[in-house]
Amino acid sequence: MAELIEGRTGTWEIVIGMEVHAQITANSKLFSGASASFGGAPNNNVSFIDAGFPGMLPTLNAYCVEQAVRTGLGLKAQINQTSVFERKNYFYPDLPTGYQISQFQHPIVGTGIIEIDLPNGVTKSIGVTRLHLEQDAGKSIHDMHPTKSYVDLNRAGCALMEIVSEPDIRGADEACAYLSKLRMILRYLGTCDGNMEEGSMRADVNLSLRRLGAKEYGTRCEIKNVNSIKAVQQAIAYEAQRQLEILEDGGTINQETRLWDPNKMETRSMRSKEDAHDYRYFPCPDLLPLILDMTEVERIKATLPELPDDKKHRFMGDYGLSNYDAGVLIAERVRADYYEDVAKGRDAKLAANWVINELLGGLNKADLELDASPITAAQLGGLIDLIANNTISGKIAKDVFAEMFATRQDAAKIVEDKGLKQVTDTGAIEALVVAVLAENPNEVAEYRGGRDKLFGFFVGQVMKKSAGKANPTLINDLLKKHLGDIG
């Protein structure tokens, strides 16, 4: 099991707590009116406030506060009516004021829960310790000059939510599941786009080992720069092994901050963090305590979207879907909405099969996102309707689907134009049945001799003769009748 690691002297448990920094989806920065959009020419999305100019003062973005509250509600967490912004003091060239405005003793959101879904179908509750608002730092670029760093402050001051988990996570699989689930919830809520490549979601992993069965936690290391789900997997594997070797040799773990290097595939001690940091937190005197209007919190709560877990349970209950299928369909809010549009008033399981197997498969092959799908939910529904009312067979439907995917045309038009309408005329099918039986006397004899399996062969032959258009139920009935007649 991935949550355990075997050493020479015994088995160790991998204990993990995560700190995730999620950039809030907003137009402007947390404390200034500069654009919070990603990219742009260096230092272009920067106000004098972000650049820490003399005399500049922060003013708090109302929407960022609302987004933090929304996220807190989505994590079923305690919303704190009063929270306090404090300054975390340290020097770094991408931190223009010499302090980060963050929340320390009084965060806006307290304890909550994230249910993670493990590969074996089990769900597990991971405690959320807190969520607080803080500003992001700028970016230092180290490879543009041999002895200098280049600093871009476009990201400086963007609003972040730091979401801290309890050390409830065991091993890399759970860590990945936690990060995926958190990302899914944030995307459902629309509070963070979850784009790890652009850095809008960044994870720090706190990892320690303890002997299986031990009650006390071991000494942990904080691993920074773990910025993809894959990196979480790799960094945990590396760091667990590193700590294991030290502990098995009788050594002790240094509590330190380590950096994940995705190129060298290793974690290493961060020299800049070598000084025991003394951040000298104190309440930011430029900002008064943030006091939430609790009726506003209620309003946000009332407009919260249905969240992934609730949706999944509803899909399983209302639509009779399997845990797996429901899980696939709720992974993205737009996907779930698409599915529900297709399923509305139709066979829900059939709709799920078509969305999961044909549509998502097709999009995946074509490397398209759902919002760029050539087939709308209404169009896919139309196709399923044609199956349901026996206009076309499921087999023909797959061809029609391929045509829809390629041409964006409606299923009915394709069926009409190509004359794919299912044959339900008993007389016409009966003629085909008679002909097939006549053409295959040997098989008929063998069937009658007890080779029941040949029934499928006759079905196939009749279907082939009808160019796939014959209604399969009618073929079945008529074949049984004629084979039985003769017999």
Binding site: A26, N27, S28, S32, G33, A34, S35, A41, P42, N43, N44, N45, V46, S47, F48, A51, T59, L60, N61, A62, Y63, C64, V65, N89, F91, Y92, P93, S140, I141, H142, M144, H145, P146, T147, K148, S149, Y150, V151, D152, L153, L259, M270, R271, S272, D275, D278, R280, P283, P285, L287, L288, P289, L290, I291
Partner: protein, 95 residues
Amino acid sequence: MSLDTAVVAKAARLARLEMDEGRLDYFAGQLTRILGFIDTLSAVNTDDVLPLANVSDITLSLRADTVTEGNQAANILANAPESAENFFVVPKVVE
């Protein structure tokens, strides 16, 4: 109470102020004197007193989420001791 220079050196390091031995000694003396005076506060009974961070009786007002600033890299960089290609240029940062 007398501050030893190690404590003063730690504060100087945190505040990014270069200080040679002589300066450390000087500020150790100064801080000892000042903190000795400040220690008179210990005579005040502050049990059950809440800290006062700001006298202001107003509640924090919030700003609408609109973009009001930007596209001014030239102004942002105008006072920079060193810049290149619209970046601030600083001594190499060690991770």
